[in-house]
Amino acid sequence: MLIYTLRRLAFGVILFVLVSLITFWLLSFSFDDAVTARLGPAASPETTAALMRELGLDRPVMLQYFDWLAHVVQGDLGKSFFTGEPVASAVPARMGVTLSIVVPALLISVAISVILGVTAAARGGVVDKVVQGMMLFGYLVPNLLVAIFFVVLFAIQLHLLPATGFTPFSKDPAAWARSVTIPIIALVVAGAANISNQIRGAMIDELRRDYVRTLRTRGISPMSIVIRHALRNAAGPALTVFGFEFITMFGGALIIEQVFALPGYGIYSFNSALENDFPVILGLTVFGVFLTVGVNLVTDLANGWLNPKARIH
């Protein structure tokens, strides 16, 4: 298990370097645009060149990358071109806001999905049809529309929940809960549909296997078989889906934040992208990749723990 963990960690580091390198390289094509944007179209070539030299943007790209990487490893992500804020503190704060919607949304989706998926697979019949209908509904409506619908309904028409604004958990937990409720619901609708579909499918396959019947002949109760055996086998592939869903939800959150004016990763990304604020953009990429690599690592490890055969590969 230890070797497996170390191997996955090593992969993660390599992937991180490669992704950040490619992103850096792609962005380098518009470094000069950023400078002209800052200075305005009337700037003289000398001023432009001077600013580029000052920002270190006239050096060869690979050199810039390694310089940046060296700083990153020491924890220095530079300062924003526009606000001068240190990136290393600004970005995690925004990440925290977004995660405070995504993580609860994922947990709630998983909880709902396990219950729905296992019940539908184990009982079949009418229960299954109802669950399938619910799943279909979740698929049909895009995140964005769900968010807007709920805002219109709960906030604007019924005045039950705030339409916009965010209160940090540390300041006032109750207000925080109210401000994140609708965004979380919006994310859960699609997320639960996807995950429960996966769990239902995996459980149906599992319950058809031979060992299920043999366990029954030993006198073990059906409930025990479903939960201790079938679910555990189905959990492995399901975990991978949780990982994907987390990243998808994160993406969805970036857009929904706009609807609710939440000061999270989404709005920050959007603004810095429009302003060509490269240190911030790179900082956002770094943390974004941390997230993806981290999530994949966790699901791989959990899969390895749950399923001994997976550790061989």
């Binding site: 992937l15 490669l18 992704v19 992103t23 962005l27 518009s30 645009d33 697979a121 184990a122 009982r123 079949g124 299954d128 049909l140 409506v141 895009p142 964005l144 529309l145 807007i148 239902r200 499918g201 149906i204 319950l207 058809r208 296997r209 031979d210 060992y211 299920v212 043999t214 029954r216 002949t217 030993r218 006198g219 073990i220 109760s221 059906p222 479903v226 086998n233 990243i247 994160f250 993406g251 969805g252 970036l254 857009i255 706009q258 990763y265 989404g266 990304s269 959007f270 810095s272 992208a273 429009l274 060509n276 990429t285 974004g288 990749v289 993806t292 994949n296 399923n307 001994p308 055969k309």
Partner: protein
Amino acid sequence: MQRLLRDPQALITGGLLLLITFAGLLAPVLSQHDPNQASLEAVNVAMGSPGHPIGGDANGRDIFARLLASINTAAISAIICSSIALVLGTVGGLIGGYFDKFRNASEWAFTLIMTFPGLLVLILLTPITRGDFRFTMAMFGVLLSPSIYRIVRNLTVAVSRELYVDAAKVSGLTNFRILARHVLSVVRGPIIVAAAFMFGSAISVQSGLAFLGLGSKETPSFGAMIAEGFRNFYISPLQYLWPALALGVINGALVLFGNALRDVLEGARPKPAPIVSKAAVDAARFDGLKPSGAALVDVRDLGVAYRMSQDEQKEVVRGVSFSVEPGETLGLVGESGSGKTQTAFAILGVLPAEAIVTRGSIVLDGNQVIGAKEREMRVLRGASVAYIPQEPMSNLDPVYTVGSQLVEGMRASTSESRGAAKARALDLLRRVGIADPERTFRSYPHQISGGMAQRVLIAGAIASKPRLLIADEPTTALDVTVQAEILDLLRDLQAEFGMGLLLVTHNFGVVADICDRVAVMRQGELVEIGNVEEIFSSPQHEYTKSLLDSILDEETVRKDPPVATVAGRAS
């Protein structure tokens, strides 16, 4: 294709999508205004105004014209994104799946793509896309390609392992032809379905990005319209509704169409099979039928059927009757489709959920099995009857150690503690001939051989000292030398515990080795039953005779010499 046209869901949603697409293409004809043409009189004008059937937006542009133009934007997004994802993913999946030496490279490449944090990347790379949605959708296509890659790679690997691909190689087909002919035909369907769902994703994502405000102001899109309408909510509450509805309808239609496509192309998905079948008994006429004698199990006129269609059932067990006495071994012999395994399952109460018991009675250790509740059956399983399956590996749960499964089974029938059960389990493993019980106890199923796994399953079956043991082709999956040892073991255990043994098999050699009596089944019916010596020496039924005749006997040896090739190459 014809099936697609006959499916109502596909027809309606497909037709709707076609309609919408044409509306978009015919935009210049259908609307009177250019989507970006702003005029002061049209600002926030209400629905139904002349020239503006759905009104005007905050900038004075015609909403209807913008809606139609947005359809085109959506269509272009979907096409760009999906084509790139499909081409990349399919080529990568075919090559990585079929050629072992390229698999590592392709895995790395697509894992790398998957590590890019999705939507975030699309937003952050705006500086180089400069808001051109086509460029962004192309990037999204690249980001989506790993999901296509995974589907294609898995299918390709599965197909490349099939024997018909080996046969094609031996026939002299080039790899290219094998990929094109055999692999692609399997991969085609799922890719088409995936494409349909990707269309929906692309349109949703493009709308989301446009909603955020990324993208050129000139490009009309649902997302941009929703954002503008939302900002204008208090002045004109319905402006956001039209693009939202349009987006919802298109997305919904795509999802439903995708589902219909999947049903047609990939066939029915497996349905849930509840472990415990509910009302499976159909007019059982066994009330009060208590057999005399001390038979362990008494089967009378058993009928088991499966539903073929709405009104017809097919009986796979047709009126079978036999009994097993304590200490005796009854062989249940037949070819495939004879119903012998179904009979065994019926006695254990583990018939699949779709099975219907149509008639008869099974009295097991004095209890009526047909119609018995699961709770009652659980009491019988373990103490009264136990089961040894055919295929050892697939009958062990791969994620638990062999030992823990043994202990779990034991504690289900008795109330012993975990420690006591473990000690007894180790004894049992030793008893069934496993050399190193501790090591096997700690092993996972994939770490032990087939023969050892079968011994483990036997240990699990006899752990609760059952009175009747049902063995379903217990040696068919094993080597002949291992088979001999397992049969020896079964005979010993039977002598030691005084169990009755119901042995389901198609192998007459096994019958001759271990059975006292034989029952011959054919297509659900029991055609002959008797002592083993009688059946072999003087079979009564035609079918039994023909079966015994087709056994390759010990004396026949190939005598004729090899024929030299007839007139050169044979034709």
